[in-house]
Subunit: 144 residues, 2 copies
DNA sequence: ATCTTTGCAAATGCTTTGCACATTC
DNA sequence: GAATGTGCAAAGCATTTGCAAAGAT
């Protein structure tokens, strides 16, 4: 059992949820596809390979739960479905995304650089920032 | 006829679309509700007051069109429907939003301050930024 | 007169829910 | 054994679409 599975087990236990094979298989699929931003349906299809009896509703319920537990982040890339990726709780914010308007590729930005902006938001608006979602739309290296 | 209506007329003409009472009424409703981030359904209800025979599908189609023309911006605040607001073409980017996790209030940030981040994105990722969507989640002045 | 647009209702597609059975703790 | 979780099918809800009639240029 690797790190991801151990933290799943602990997070579930702490909140009174049970560790089921479906939940393990769902998280396993996400761990095996890091950086991919899979949709619920895509995760369902992949989980089915190892767990053919799982239902789509279970995957929906599991992803909801994993998001609640802070294990996953739900993204909307405006393509009509939600997409999930692993949260990295060691970083204090989600990373930014680059979305290519031509080929649709979604990639990630390592740099954060929003501190000065967040300072201004606290000072000028009295708003305490807990997290942010930042998306840049434009043209990727290949399409540009 | 005010500025918004004039630019609607021109934008439609330029693209071979017709200026209909439904399109005028829809834009009028949005102009009268600046800063409000209305959903399609909410816009529909308001437009109906002056235009009782309009159909919901027409409002959907009109909002899509106005977004295509660059007159509106479509937002997803994760509440299960899309919301629209007027675009300000004099600014070269959309403004950022603050979303309160407690009361759900959505407010706007005047400051942009993403230039240095966008410079890095061009340099390090070869990605040409056309626009961005930035949302800060946290607690507003009243709720904090 | 032609081509676009509208209204209506039906269809679509993602997501949620109710319920009986199965599984975990 | 009690409570939670699952699978299935049905329901829900925002959005889209087909089509005949209406409207704009």
């Amino acid at each position: 059992m690797n790190d991801g599975m151990i933290s799943l087990k602990m997070a579930l236990k702490k909140n009174g949820y049970k560790l089921t094979s479906q939940r393990k298989a769902t998280l396993k699929t996400i761990l095996e596809n890091q950086g991919k931003h899979l949709s619920t349906e895509e995760i369902f299809v992949k989980v089915k390979e190892s767990n053919p009896r799982i239902g789509l509703a279970t995957v929906y319920r599991t992803l909801l739960l994993l998001e609640e537990l802070g294990i996953l982040i739900k993204h909307n890339f405006e393509d009509g479905r939600y997409r999930y990726e692993l949260s990295h709780p060691d970083q204090d914010h989600d990373h930014h995304h680059l979305i290519c308007l031509k080929c649709g590729e979604v990639s990630e930005v390592k740099e954060d650089l929003l501190d000065s902006l967040e300072d201004i938001i606290v000072k000028n608006y009295g708003f305490k920032v807990a997290n942010h979602k930042v998306k840049f739309y434009g043209y990727c290296k290949r399409c540009n």
